[in-house]
Amino acid sequence: MAREITAGELPGPITREQVKQLQRKNRRENLGRSWYKFSRNPLSVIGGATILVIVLVAVFAPWVAPFPEHAKPFTDFANASKPPSAQHLFGTDEIGRDILSRVIFGFRFSLTMGIVVLTLVVPTGVVLGLLAGYYQGSWLDTIIMRITDIFLAVPSLILALAIAAVLEPNLFNAMVAVSLMWWPWYTRLSYGLASTLRNEFYVTSAETLGAGKLHILFREILPNMTSPIFTKMSLDMGWVIIIGATLSFVGLGVQPPRPGLGTMMASGAKYLPDQWWIAVFPALGIVVVVLGFNLLGDGLRDLFSAEGV
């Protein structure tokens, strides 16, 4: 991997500027190589493309959805429960709303759920795990990791259900409930990584050179933990979305008339099997998003493991 640097390229002592340039170049090349590898795996590309399309569709939902007003409070009882047709590709629900439009807006809730939860959870979990891992064996390690154990002693969904049930049911509280249960996974992951990395040569040499603790934690160790964390994040987007849909399905997440995918499934389940489209298309929506994130995550994992992280 390392490029040989010939004397011709280095006329004198290298300047800071040159180092930076070299680093940038290296990074660009690495990125190019990664993209090449990534793009060789058709499944990852499909996953990435699916997510890209879903994100775009969700962001531009008001322009993409055929009937954007149907995602808001809206009634058209004359067109209630119509099966899929050219006008309504996914049919209409019991209130006459276009299901395709609602699924498109539903992606917004799912993505919001995933993004917000991970934004809350990843920094918290990673910093805690980093500290505990670096100070392995100290009281800090004990406290953090024992608390983590407690939170991991019961499957996350169950505690999330319990917390969501005691709070007022809405999307925000569902995100709070899932976040409270999800950080320990990142703590545990980064704990394992940090406790290995702290014995690496470059860390110990930085220590010998008298680098500050903050520098070591965040500039030496943390950058080397990013690949597994990003992989997990991509896979977790899928799981968080499933948990969010599950909470909505039992009435503890997105509240109607807002078009959460799980919410729509729950009300659609009442009309099975005859008006199957009311429940089936939102369900497919969930499956497609989760599938996209999983394919993407698997692609990233293969990529990083090939790089030997």
């Binding site: 154990d149 939170f151 002693a153 169950i158 599950t246 399905f249 389940a269 499956v287």
Partner: protein
Amino acid sequence: MRLLGFLTRRGFQSIFVLFGLSILIFVIARVLPGDPARAALGARAPQWVVDRLREDMHLDEPLVAQYGYWLGDALQGDLGISLVTRRDVTDDIRDFLPASLELVMFAGLITAVGGIGLGILSARNKDKWVDNFIRIFSYMGVVTPSFVAAILLLLLFGLVLDWFPTIGRLSEGVPRPTTITGFYTIDSLLAGQFATAWDALKHLILPAVALALGSLSQEARITRSTMSDNLSKDYIAAGRALGVPERLVTGRFLLKASLIPTVSIFGLDFAATLSNAFLVELIFVWPGISRYGLNAMLRKDVNAISAVILILGITFILVNILVDLGVGALDPRIRLRAARSD
């Protein structure tokens, strides 16, 4: 001796974790807005009846005192009274836990057999159509939420094809077997009632498959990838070159080594199965602890919520210890490491 040491250490850790968990769930269950006593008795019950219930449950006292009462009682095996069923939570758990365990264990069996089986099949036929089919199937299995799978299975096999019953543990008119283990299949076999056992098994299949689908797919994927990795390892080639029978090579060397990751994620799979049971039991009207727990959560039944989470926590911890023992049995390196850290 080493095993004993391991178990003692894990035992102490578990007690600590359970203690912490009890505080956590107590806080979750009790710091809720609203009055659980009023919620339980309904709007038309006179205030004095509500006050009496609050007093019975120590709801008027500070939270720390409430926790003291709860812990003291819990240590004596008294988990309080459920506000929904209006009887001791321990009675409810005694009634509902076996149904869930039977379901979850059966699902575990399907996961193990199906997952490893599909994984081996896939690895053996790498990149052929069987492999591709299994890979797509297991991908879909992983990403389909269990409640979606449950509803689809119910529709397809319960309603359209009508192959399986869709509700409960036994058909009506079929007497319940006398309780020995609480598992209807096993109890009826022990009593020699084969028709009952068959009926119980038919009731188990759909919910168990719905529960197992995700984990099964996960296991299949892991088994496939480790097996195909290991197939290219030197020791396999060496084994074959030395003329070791093929059965022994795949069966003994390959499978054993390949099962380590499969077994070690079994703990996680079990967690997923336990969680998914919350919805699958609801959909199949399975009278288990998860359906009971979900109802308790939705109705703010404080004692039942605490008890269910505690029981599931204990179950989960036990399963994780078993998984660690299993991995140790498969992998001498892990055994050695554990021994060193003693």
